[in-house]
Structure formats: structure tokens, C-alpha cells
């Protein structure tokens, strides 16, 4: 069973995921992927973590225009509901 995608649970999973991926600096909602040195390969891995955890499928198209961590969190919560 996927975990329920609340803002809090998604935030936790994404923060942990980005840290594990080796993001540079502090991971916050306002941090941009550029600041964190997170590239498209990292985002694919992050999407796999999200799918495993919440059952939400994200495609490259979905995330290519997102700049901040918060935007991804909001998208996942919205898709899950």
C-alpha cells in the first residue's frame, strides 16, 4: 500500500530523497534544484522514490519546468488527491 500523500509526508520523503542523492546545501521548500546541484538524472531517481512511496507517476515532462523543491512537493500532493 502506498503511503498517504500529505504535504508533510511528501515533504519528508523528498527532503530525505534529495539528501540521499547528495544534494548540495540545505534542502528546503524554497531551494532550487540549481542551488542543490540536482540535475535531470537526479530528478528521475527522485521520481522513482516518489512512485515507490506514494504510487504517483511523474514523467520527465511533468518536472522539467519545476524549479524549486516546493513545486515538486505540491505537484505530488495534487496528483495524489
Amino acid at each position: 500500500m502506498p503511503t498517504e500523500a500529505t504535504t508533510q509526508s511528501v515533504e519528508q520523503v523528498i527532503f530525505d530523497g534529495l539528501t540521499e542523492l547528495g544534494a548540495e546545501g540545505e534542502v528546503t521548500r524554497d531551494a532550487t534544484f540549481e542551488d542543490l546541484d540536482v540535475d535531470s538524472l537526479d530528478l528521475v531517481e527522485l521520481a522513482q522514490v516518489i512512485e515507490d512511496e506514494f504510487g504517483v507517476e511523474l514523467q520527465g515532462e511533468d518536472v522539467k519546468d519545476l524549479r524549486t523543491v516546493g513545486e515538486v512537493i505540491d505537484l505530488v500532493v495534487q496528483r495524489a488527491s
Binding site: E20, L21, G22, A23, D37, L41, V44, E45, Q48, E51
Partner: protein, 411 residues
């Protein structure tokens, strides 16, 4: 006047430890880095050299290359900043197999969890050019950069290719070497299936009881510079690539051509390239895999190429101490040969006790021995350099597929 290529830094990660000196001093002291039938780099801790992100984005073979390169950079002074324009520096790193561990891991993910779970890093981790590409990115190298894939000759061929790159003027300097991390379930089973590895797990090159090679892992990286440029910047020279020779057996996918004709020709080409005669060779760092076929063929090749001198020159195999590092072997063993020249010794072929019929060279059986310049013979060393009297070694590397590569080195 042709351009000469000097060595200004070396680095190694081997089953004898992290660092080129661990390799040479350990081997010279008779230490063996093999345990339970394999030569693992158990002391290697990736996080000492890499950030979390770098570690995630590199297979173990690339991680070894990063650590070895860092040591070479520190020795040469390159750590303080590249000494040449980055477009004038090349990067050539050989591997036999590439990121096999990453491939096997993702194959398991595919089977167990399906295609959507396969890591997007799978290909960049496993590709054979990953070490070369990663080193270039890490150090901002913009010259010719590529991997060399010629099985167990790859490390030596990478050094040879980088040497030619500098000689031709395509580069002023280069990072060159080899890396391998293939002690995995698949490779272990596959080498055993073809009868290449030792069922007893013992590496004893040239001994009558030898029964195959023992797999090792690690990396060796050398920094090469055009000699005049290195001198101008005041670099400390730790060696010189005097010559390089490479040939192909065109005989069999795995077995060496039994007469060793093409292997001998590679040795002859390396000596010609160096401008020296067989009697100028003070030490032979053998490929010496501990397989029945290689050690016999290599012995034949040495006799053909060196003539009577083959019986006078000490011949020893680094693989007796660290096993067979496949695509890293040629580079690691070039560093071991340089270390031997530096210390003026022929390190021993560990475990060698029982002579085999026809294998009657001096395999340095009883501990490290002092090298005698010219082996007491009149020398016809090159008259055109200032290093007259310097010790000279050749380092052999022969790979599945019939690739023969020989480096002629001096300290």
C-alpha cells in the same frame, strides 16, 4: 628532435592498499594482498575521496580511478592547479569490463521490480569510458579523453596511447592509466567457466603448479608530461616512458598464440621505440598471470625478443602479490615497475617454488633482489639523453583477444 614523455605523478589503489608506495613496498617485502581466492581492495573507503553525489555517480572501478588520480595529482603538484591549458591535457583510462557491478545490480532491479525502477545512472555507471569521463569532469580536462577497452592490455595501451598523444603534439600532458572492479558474481563464474581462473585460488606465476589467475581489482593512474614542458615548470620527474610497442595475435579470442611471436614483436617494438638493445633491459615486469598458457608463451616471447639476455635479466610478476587486475593491470604494473627501478630492486615472484619444463628464466623466486645496471654487461644505452646509466624496465601486458602491449620505462 622528437618529443619525450616523462612521468610526474603516480597513484594506485590495489589489494595491497591505497597508495603506490603500499603496492611497491608491500610487494617488495613479500606481502600478498590475496585472500579467499581474490584480491580485493578492502582498505578502500570511497567517502575518503568522493562526495556523496560523486560516489553515487561512479561505479567502483571509477572510484578507484578517482582515488589513484588524486594521489598522482598530489605527487605531481597538479592539485594546486593544472600546469597546462586544459585543452592541452588528455585523459585516457583503460578498463577490461567497466562497471560490471552496476550492471549486475540493475539487472537484478529489472528482474525483481521491473523496468520503471531501473536507475537512470545505469548506463553512465557501467560504460567503459566512465572513469576517463569522470576524471576529465572532476579535473576540468578538455583534451582528448576516452577509454581504452582491450581486456588485460587496456591499462598499458592507455599509457601507450597517451604517450603517443603527447609525442605527436596533440597534447602537452595526459592523465593515463587503468581501472577495474570486476570481482562480481557473473565475472567470477564466467572466468571460472572458461578455465581462466585458479580453482585453488593461488597466484603463483611461472611455477609448475600454476593453475590460473586470481582476480584482483584496483586502479593505477600516471601523469605524463612532455619532457621540456615539465622541466620548464620545474616538475619533479619520477620516470619516463622510453618506448611503447603494441601488436595483435590475430589468433584466438582467449588463447595466446603459442610461439609468442607477436608478443615478442611488441617487446621488440618497445625496445626499438626506446632506442635501446635487449641487454639494456635491467628488469622485466612480466604479465605473468599464473595461467598455464600465458606464462609459457610469455617466457617464449622474452627469449625471442631478448635473446641470451632473457636468461640474465630478472623477470617477476606483480600478480603474485595482487592477482590479476585485468584492465588496470598494465597501469598498476607500470607503476610497480617504476617503483622497482626507484628502489633499485627486482621484487619477487611470490609463491614461485617449482620450476616448470621450459620455463627457465630468472623469475626472482627468493625475495627482492638488488638490480645491477646493465646486469654487468656492456651497455649500449641511448647516447642521446642525460640519463645514461639509469635503470630500465619493460612491463608486459597481454589481453584476451590477442592484444599485446609493452611499455619501456626508466626512472
Amino acid at each position: 628532435m622528437s618529443r619525450r614523455v616523462v612521468i610526474t605523478g603516480t597513484g594506485a589503489v590495489t589489494p595491497l592498499g591505497v597508495g603506490a608506495s603500499s603496492l611497491i613496498d608491500g610487494w617488495a617485502a613479500g606481502e600478498c594482498g590475496l585472500a579467499e581466492g581474490a584480491g580485493r581492495c578492502s582498505d578502500f573507503e570511497p567517502t575518503e575521496f568522493l562526495s556523496v553525489k560523486e560516489a553515487r555517480r561512479s561505479d567502483r572501478f571509477t572510484q578507484f580511478a578517482i582515488a589513484a588520480c588524486q594521489e598522482a595529482f598530489d605527487e605531481s603538484g597538479w592539485s594546486a592547479g593544472l600546469p597546462y591549458e586544459s585543452g592541452q591535457i588528455g585523459c585516457v583510462v583503460g578498463t577490461g569490463i567497466g562497471g560490471l557491478g552496476s550492471l549486475e545490480e540493475q539487472e537484478n532491479v529489472l528482474r525483481e521490480r521491473g523496468p520503471r525502477s531501473v536507475s537512470p545512472l545505469s548506463v553512465p555507471l557501467m560504460m567503459g569510458n566512465a572513469a576517463a569521463a569522470t576524471l576529465a569532469m572532476r579535473h576540468g580536462i578538455h583534451g582528448h579523453t576516452y577509454g581504452v577497452v582491450s581486456a588485460c592490455a587496456a591499462g598499458a595501451q592507455a599509457i601507450g596511447a597517451a604517450t603517443r598523444m603527447i609525442e605527436s603534439g596533440d597534447a602537452e600532458a595526459a592523465i593515463a592509466g587503468g581501472a577495474e572492479a570486476a570481482i562480481t558474481g557473473l565475472a567470477t563464474a564466467a572466468f571460472a567457466a572458461m578455465g581462466a581462473t585458479s580453482p585453488t585460488g593461488i597466484s603463483r606465476p611461472f611455477d609448475a603448479r600454476r593453475d590460473g589467475f586470481v582476480m584482483g581489482e584496483g586502479a593505477g593512474i600516471l601523469l605524463l608530461e612532455e619532457a621540456d614542458a615539465a622541466e620548464r615548470r620545474g616538475a619533479e620527474i619520477v620516470g619516463e616512458v622510453l618506448g611503447y610497442g603494441a601488436t595483435s595475435d590475430a589468433h584466438h579470442l582467449t588463447a595466446p598464440e603459442p610461439s609468442g611471436h607477436e608478443a615478442a614483436r611488441a617487446i621488440e617494438l618497445a625496445l626499438d621505440d626506446a632506442g635501446i638493445a635487449p641487454q639494456d633491459v635491467d628488469y622485466v615486469n612480466a604479465h605473468g598471470t599464473s595461467t598455464p598458457l600465458n606464462d609459457r608463451t610469455e617466457t617464449e616471447a622474452l627469449k625471442t625478443a631478448l635473446g641470451d639476455h632473457a636468461w640474465r635479466v630478472p623477470v617477476s610478476s606483480t600478480k603474485s602479490a595482487i592477482g590479476h587486475l585485468l584492465g588496470a593491470a598494465g597501469a598498476v604494473e607500470a607503476i610497480a615497475a617504476l617503483g622497482a627501478l626507484d628502489r633499485g630492486i627486482a621484487p619477487p615472484t611470490l609463491g614461485y617454488e617449482e620450476p616448470d619444463e621450459g620455463l627457465d628464466l630468472d623469475y626472482v623466486p627468493d625475495g627482492a633482489r638488488s638490480l645491477v645496471g646493465g646486469n654487468g654487461n656492456p651497455s649500449s644505452r641511448r647516447g642521446n639523453d642525460a640519463e645514461n646509466g639509469a635503470l630500465i624496465a619493460i612491463s608486459n601486458a597481454f589481453g584476451f583477444g590477442g592484444h599485446n602491449a609493452v611499455l619501456c620505462l626508466t626512472r
